[in-house]
């Protein structure tokens, strides 16, 4: 009885903490890294006062946010106002359940993992909409409306681009999708090559889904102050912030898993040396490669933010509906033909 309880209850909780705690720390360090990188791109210093090289800045900000008062606007809907940040946070963390970090390192190896991810990312929009509505503020409502329209539009492009991955991999299981990218041609076995347009569409849709620059009309500081979270302060705002950054890191991980071979090494199949384990991972693949890829992908988010001006609302809609969706629909057919004529063989090696 005791052993069963341990296996079924305690171990999953420990595993969940093993994902959630590093994720929260990663968010804190990512915020620091973002401010540093954008600072360098603007030829500024970035945060450099708290701790060595300003490393503790993020933690100072967290403490500051947590000890601030949470203000409830007059005639706001109390229940939904406090529920909204949680509705934004829960899907952002729940999606991590199916993310495979390594060959065996995955919390839930479910067969419909890809569908589950789509479901979770589509739920996050409720937090934003309800925050906008429950705040009883015009700016917040406008931000929520913009965000809802944008997220729904880009979800379609995102879903269709994942259909291409699904066609080539022949599985909805994320671990199997990574295995399908194994082979003897190194990084040219990954799906980014046959699915190059779709890869770009997927990542840009991911940026739009997380409401990040240049698609951040939901916040739009110059027009609607801070959009949906304009009335939130203190820890409630911190939760929105956490959800947004957790989603950015999630999109980076997913782009690495779907198109850049997950934990597989870019040198796979080229080197067959027998080396100790601490060297071996360079060509056999390990979680370190996944972390490197995800780090590079998440860097793109910051780079975009420092580079591009904000899109106008009608430009966002045009890009999503008239450019991305047609591209992905055509590429579903192309991917089907590639699979049918055997141009891309899923998982020839390893």
């Amino acid at each position: 009885m005791g052993e069963q309880l341990l296996n079924e209850l305690v171990l999953p909780v420990v595993y969940i903490l093993c994902i959630a705690v590093p994720l929260i720390l990663a968010v804190a360090m990512f915020v620091y890294w973002e401010r540093k990188v954008i600072g360098w791109m603007h030829v500024r210093m970035g945060p450099n006062k708290v701790g060595p090289w300003g490393l503790l800045q993020a933690f100072a900000d967290v403490v500051k946010l947590l000890i601030k008062e949470v203000i409830l606007p007059s005639s706001a809907n109390r229940f939904l106002y406090y529920l909204a940040p949680l509705l934004a946070l829960v899907p952002a963390f729940a999606a991590w359940a199916v993310v495979p970090f390594d060959d065996r390192m995955v919390l839930a190896n479910v067969n419909a993992g890809l569908l589950y991810l789509l479901a979770m990312t589509s739920l996050g929009v409720y937090g934003i909409i309800l925050a906008g509505w429950a705040s009883n503020s015009r700016y917040a409502l406008l931000g929520a409306m913009r965000s809802a329209a944008q997220v729904i539009s880009y979800e379609l492009a995102m879903g269709l681009s994942l259909v291409c991955v699904l066609v080539l991999a022949g599985s909805l299981n994320l671990t199997d999708i990574v295995h399908a990218q194994a082979g003897g041609k190194g990084l040219f076995d990954w799906f980014w090559l046959p699915l190059l347009p779709v890869f770009i569409v997927y990542f840009i849709s991911g940026v739009a889904e997380t409401n990040r620059a240049p698609f951040d009309v939901a916040e739009g500081e110059s027009e609607i102050v801070a959009g949906f979270h304009v009335e939130y302060s203190g820890s409630a705002f911190a939760i929105f912030f956490l959800a947004e950054y957790a989603n950015m890191i999630l999109v980076s991980f997913l782009a690495s898993i779907f198109f850049l071979g997950g934990w597989l090494s870019p040198l796979q199949g080229w080197i067959h040396a027998d080396a100790p384990n601490w060297v071996n991972w360079i060509w056999t693949g390990s979680i370190i490669w996944l972390l490197i890829k995800a780090f590079l992908m998440s860097f793109l988010f910051l780079w975009f933010r420092a580079t591009f001006p904000r899109y106008r609302y009608d430009q966002i809609m045009r890009l999503g509906w008239k450019v991305f969706i047609p591209i992905t629909i055509v590429w579903v057919l192309v991917a089907g033909c590639m699979k049918y004529f055997g141009l891309v063989l899923a998982g020839t090696g390893a």
């Binding site: 939904l80 419909a112 479901a119 929009v125 409720y126």
Partner: protein, 215 residues
């Protein structure tokens, strides 16, 4: 030891109770946004019941399509509406008898259907996906695209016609609409828009330089 069947049964009744409660809340709550959210909860717990029945594809598709997209648009519309609650209350009482009759007829029909099925004693076979050794999604895909291809295509056609009709009904052309062509904007040549004028440097205090206006 926890019996798996018992646990499933408890879960089923839990989700079923939440579904029924949420469905009742949809028609009884005063605030229309709250009502829409109850509907979301009803969909969500229905998806959980389907998961219990090992219909994982349908369950997640329900969440992706209805909860993730349709209900968001619904919420979008409801937030924009300014509904006067007294009138809605009035209508609720007035149409209650009709509603009860419709509900009773539906209940009778459902009971009849289940009753007829029960009389045939048509025992459900084992889960065809497990028999075929495939995941639920893979089996559903194979069945849809081979055995039921024609009905599937007909359904897709009907949906496409529906989209075209919806667009045709709501599309209005206004004569004075201003619109930008993105391809034209991209093709703009800077030389057509601005002219760089090279001017000799001049001092403002000299009287000769005042003839040229400063650009």
């Amino acid at each position: 030891m926890i019996d798996t069947n018992l646990l499933q049964l408890i879960c089923f009744y839990g989700f079923a109770a939440v579904t029924v409660g949420a469905a009742l809340a949809v028609i009884s709550l005063k605030n229309s946004v709250h009502a829409v959210l109850s509907l979301v909860l009803a969909f969500f717990s229905t998806a959980c019941i389907w998961l219990l029945a090992e219909a994982e594809f349908l369950a997640i598709a329900l969440i992706v399509v209805y909860v993730g997209a349709v209900m968001v648009l619904f919420l979008f519309v409801v937030m924009m509406l300014d509904i006067k609650m007294e009138q809605v209350r009035e209508g609720f009482i007035r149409y209650l008898p009709v509603g009860i009759i419709v509900a009773l007829v539906m209940l009778a029909e459902m009971l009849a259907l289940i009753g007829v099925r029960a009389m045939h004693a048509h025992v459900m076979g084992a889960n065809p996906a497990t028999v075929a050794g495939l995941s639920n999604t893979a089996w559903l895909g194979e069945a849809l695209y081979s055995q039921y291809l024609l009905p599937f295509e007909v359904a897709a056609l009907i949906l496409t016609v529906g989209v075209v009709v919806a667009v045709a009904l709501t599309l209005r052309h206004r004569g004075d609409k201003k619109h930008e062509s993105a391809s034209e904007q991209v093709r703009v040549n800077p030389r057509d828009r601005i002219r760089v004028v090279k001017m000799a440097p001049s001092r403002p205090d000299e009287p000769t330089s005042s003839e040229e206006p400063l650009q």
